[in-house]
């Protein structure tokens, strides 16, 4: 069997969510898996807001040819992994296009603007519909809910990594991601591997 190729070079992947959710961790795992497969990877991260409840995003540019800049140009995302629904829509507004694929965890995280009453959190059903409408394909993965069933919301990240890998949108398979997962989560590896496999199962069901 020939190895899977990039459908586009560079492939532009956005991972988005709220500070503290583990955005950087996910991008590190995916990015390292690609580098080990011989790709050039450039990874740009929002920071500063990263642990303080602000919106966060990682831009990943994957190429066989060269080192791209850490910014995906406006309108040029190929895949968006959304750890939070509103943040997914924020990214679609700026980086979306008719071909973009989204994987979304529909669990909201309220901002202090929403908590304080200065802003309104949109109706969740409508929000998810908007994400679907603006995407060529959308997978909805109840990662937080499934993680809580497994004992902690912290496992949501491994579930989402599983969903991203299991969806087949990246030329990465389980075998290339698992060793990186083992290195990053040496303590909770059994539970995180279970969550990773759960994500693969969810995206394929």
């Amino acid at each position: 069997m020939t190895k899977k190729q990039l459908v586009k070079d560079p492939l532009n992947l956005i991972i988005t969510g709220v500070g503290g959710q583990g955005n950087v961790m996910i991008s590190l795992i995916i990015g390292n898996a690609f580098v080990r497969e011989g790709y050039f990877v450039t990874l740009g991260e929002t920071y500063g807001a990263s642990q303080r409840g602000g919106p966060v995003m990682s831009h990943m540019r994957i190429s066989k040819e060269t080192q791209y800049s850490p910014f995906i140009p406006d309108g040029c995302a190929d895949i968006i992994l959304g750890m939070e629904p509103v943040e997914t829509l924020r990214m679609l507004g700026r980086y979306g296009n008719p071909n973009v694929i989204t994987i979304i965890n529909p669990r909201p995280i309220y901002s202090i603007d929403v908590i304080g009453g200065q802003a309104e959190y949109p109706d969740l059903h409508k929000l998810v519909e908007s994400v679907k409408e603006l995407s060529a394909k959308t997978w909805i993965i109840n990662a937080t809910e499934e993680a809580q069933k497994m004992g902690s919301h912290m496992f949501a990240n491994a579930i989402l990594i599983g969903a991203l890998v299991g969806s087949g949108v990246l030329p990465l398979d389980k075998k290339s991601v698992e060793p990186v997962l083992r290195e990053i989560f040496p303590k909770e590896i059994t539970a995180n591997l279970a969550a990773f496999n759960k994500g693969i199962k969810l995206v394929r069901s």
């Binding site: 450039t42 991260e45 303080r52 791209y68 140009p73 929403v114």
Partner: protein, 645 residues
């Protein structure tokens, strides 16, 4: 993730620019590294400290950038290759030493200064370009254009510093320092380092070795000779290169992360045959011959660089000195308005500049889709302001300050400083802080406010400062307040870490950068020894803290110190389980009917306590809540319940 000491030459690793710098320093055989944490520079020393023991080197978090640079110079004087790293503001702190160091020259060990600038001030108080200091003080300056080059340049810079006998500087920006990319590793040196301050520098000389800036005019003359030599080296450097056609419609001159943006932009516009890019890696002294050889590529020059028009102005000066017969290019850049003279750049901004100059249209996505996506996002995406983390002790401290000043009633003024608590300028800290400048400035400004009594000023003055900032730059201001009897309270927010930049240890933590236990420099003992009245509070004891602040405000009589001591929640959460399980009793919470006007959610603003609009009740978000239990004391109805876990 990345082990910067991995002994696997030839393999590619995904490193952030800061790790690439650290790796380059290791490959260069560095023996000594010192820094003060500051985004986006912190991981340089952080990653060196992690491997220092195994690599047989020394790494420290210094009390501030000036001491870091001076300590690194000390190592250089004794023949050890040394590095000092800092963010842009650190360059201001260290500039007095630098101005003298360039005159004295360095020792036998190569000495490198790394400055990480933060365009757009994403995690900074100000936006500042540090490249001009190289021109101002005569320091050879380089800037890497990708991650591989970051590692290779750092390694090479130590050789250059030794060859020239002068400090060399590497400037990096956020999108190199904090972005990740491929880095192919080189060999790690195996040799044993030996430090020795060579008393007789030159056997022919009877003078002992000295490092000093005098006699200054003579030293200045020598420094210019070193800079001439640096220019010669730079002319042939492989870090400078041209890509593009022999004759171009536009020549981009660029450096740093803008090299990546420029390449992206040219590719996106498919202009590889029409636009050339002259990428500079060695910036000062300007490699004028090399640049001159490419100036005839196009009559139009576009300068793409972050923050100041450093290259733009330098090339203008260079062109002004060309013979009258030379072609006069048209300059596009910050001066012409084609490139922003503020904020960070990105591929889109470069695309815009090129398109404007060449009169091209650029449409990356279907226009109907774009209109729809932007409209849907605009009407459905609420703001997400930054705030203190759930469980953060600073929220408690500012709640206490707000209440104490309200009870005092004279319109107390809070001066602020640099750290997470800078967010108290906004809703996170109830808009309590009114000034914010540089490290230590809050206490300095308070010194002035606290001496205005003779002009009828009777507002209480509080200066808030973090624990690490206290050691860094606040102690002289406190001494001044005690000596000159300025009436203010220095409120030290002691959360036992340099939290904003990644929880680095500091002199009050009893731990070194390399993880060794050490003496605790006690802030209360220090302040007491200066003669200050010192109180220590747990900010989670809201009532007690408010009472203490009120007593200290009423006391008057020179500078006083209130220490708010509670661990950073993120540090606690790494080690321990949450102390409480917290929930809102929906029977007791009466929502909008309560006279509190939603104090818990509208004002207190902890992201772990949300407002359930449908139920007209507040509610704990179990994913975000850290179980600190502070909100229990804020609710006037007693509707928030905590149970020990």
């Amino acid at each position: 993730m990345a082990n910067i000491d991995i002994d696997a030459p030839g393999t590619s690793q995904l490193l952030i620019g800061n790790e690439a710098i650290a790796r380059g320093a290791l490959e260069a055989g560095i023996g000594f590294a010192a820094a003060y944490p500051g985004t986006p520079s912190s991981e340089i020393l952080g990653s060196l400290a992690q491997v220092a023991k195994e690599m047989g080197i020394y790494a420290e978090w210094s009390v501030n950038e000036k001491v870091a640079m001076e300590a690194a110079a000390g190592a250089s004087f004794a023949g050890i290759r040394a590095l000092a790293s800092m963010k842009q503001n650190g360059i201001n702190v260290v500039s007095d030493f630098l101005a003298n160091l360039v005159m004295s020259g360095i020792g036998k060990g190569g000495l490198v200064l790394v400055s990480c600038d933060d365009p757009s001030a994403i995690s900074s108080s100000n936006e500042q370009d540090t490249r001009p200091i190289a021109k101002w003080l005569d320091i050879p300056l380089v800037e890497p254009g990708d991650f591989q080059e970051t590692k290779d340049m750092t390694r090479w810079l130590f050789d250059l510093a030794e060859e020239l006998g002068t400090l060399c500087m590497l400037r990096s920006v956020t999108r190199i320092a904090h972005a990740r990319g491929n880095v192919r590793l080189g060999e790690l040196p195996k040799k044993q380092l030996k430090a020795y301050f060579d008393q007789i520098h030159d056997l022919k000389s009877v003078m002992p070795t000295t490092f000093m800036p005098i006699p200054s005019p003579l030293r200045h003359f020598f420094l210019h000779m070193k800079m001439d030599k640096a220019r010669e080296k730079f002319e042939g450097s492989a870090f400078n290169r041209y890509v593009g056609p022999n004759k171009a419609d536009l020549l981009i001159i660029t450096c740093g992360s803008c090299w990546l943006y420029s390449q992206d932009a040219v590719k996106a516009l498919k202009l590889e045959d029409r636009v050339g890019i002259l990428k500079l890696g060695t910036l000062w002294p300007l490699p004028e011959k090399f640049i001159g050889e490419h100036l005839d590529k196009s009559e139009k020059l576009l300068f793409v660089e972050e923050i100041d028009p450093f290259l733009e102005r330098s090339v203008m000066e260079m062109v002004a000195n060309l013979p009258p017969s030379s072609p006069r290019p048209i300059f596009y850049g910050k001066r012409s308005g084609h490139v922003n003279a503020y904020g960070e750049l990105n591929p889109d901004l470069v695309i815009k500049a090129i398109s404007t100059i060449l009169g091209l249209a650029y449409q990356p996505r279907d226009i109907e889709y774009r209109k729809k996506a932007e409209a849907v996002a605009k009407s459905n995406v609420p703001e997400r302001s930054m705030t203190f983390c759930a469980g953060c002790p600073h929220r408690a401290t500012f709640w206490a300050i707000k209440n104490a000043l309200k009870l005092d009633g004279r319109g107390g003024v809070v001066t602020g400083d640099i750290g997470c608590y800078s967010m108290a300028l906004g809703p996170a800290g109830f808009f309590q802080v009114r000034t914010m400048h540089c490290m230590g400035a809050g206490a300095g400004v308070a010194n002035g406010l606290g001496k205005l009594g003779q002009f009828g000023f009777d507002q209480p003055v509080l200066a808030v400062v973090g624990d690490s900032t206290f050691y860094h730059a606040t102690i002289p201001a406190l001494i001044n307040g005690i000596y000159n009897q300025s009436d203010f309270i220095l409120v030290i927010l002691d959360n036992s870490a340099t939290a904003m930049t990644g929880f680095q240890p500091h002199p009050g933590t009893g731990m070194t950068a390399m993880g060794e236990p050490t003496k605790v420099v006690s802030m209360e003992a220090l302040c007491c020894s200066l003669g200050a009245h010192v109180e220590v509070c747990d900010p989670f004891d809201l009532k007690g803290t408010i009472a203490t602040l009120l007593e200290m405000i009423a006391e008057g009589g020179g500078a006083k110190v209130a220490i708010m001591r509670r661990r950073c929640e993120l540090v606690r959460a790494k080690k321990e389980k949450p102390p409480y399980r917290v929930h809102v009793d929906p029977e007791k919470c009466i929502g909008e009917a309560c006279g509190c006007d939603r104090l818990c959610t509208r004002v207190f603003l902890c992201p772990g306590l949300i407002w359930d609009k449908k139920a007209n009740r507040s509610k704990i978000d179990e994913v975000t809540c850290t179980g600190c239990g502070l909100c229990v004391d804020v609710c006037p109805q007693g509707a928030i319940i905590k149970e020990a876990v």
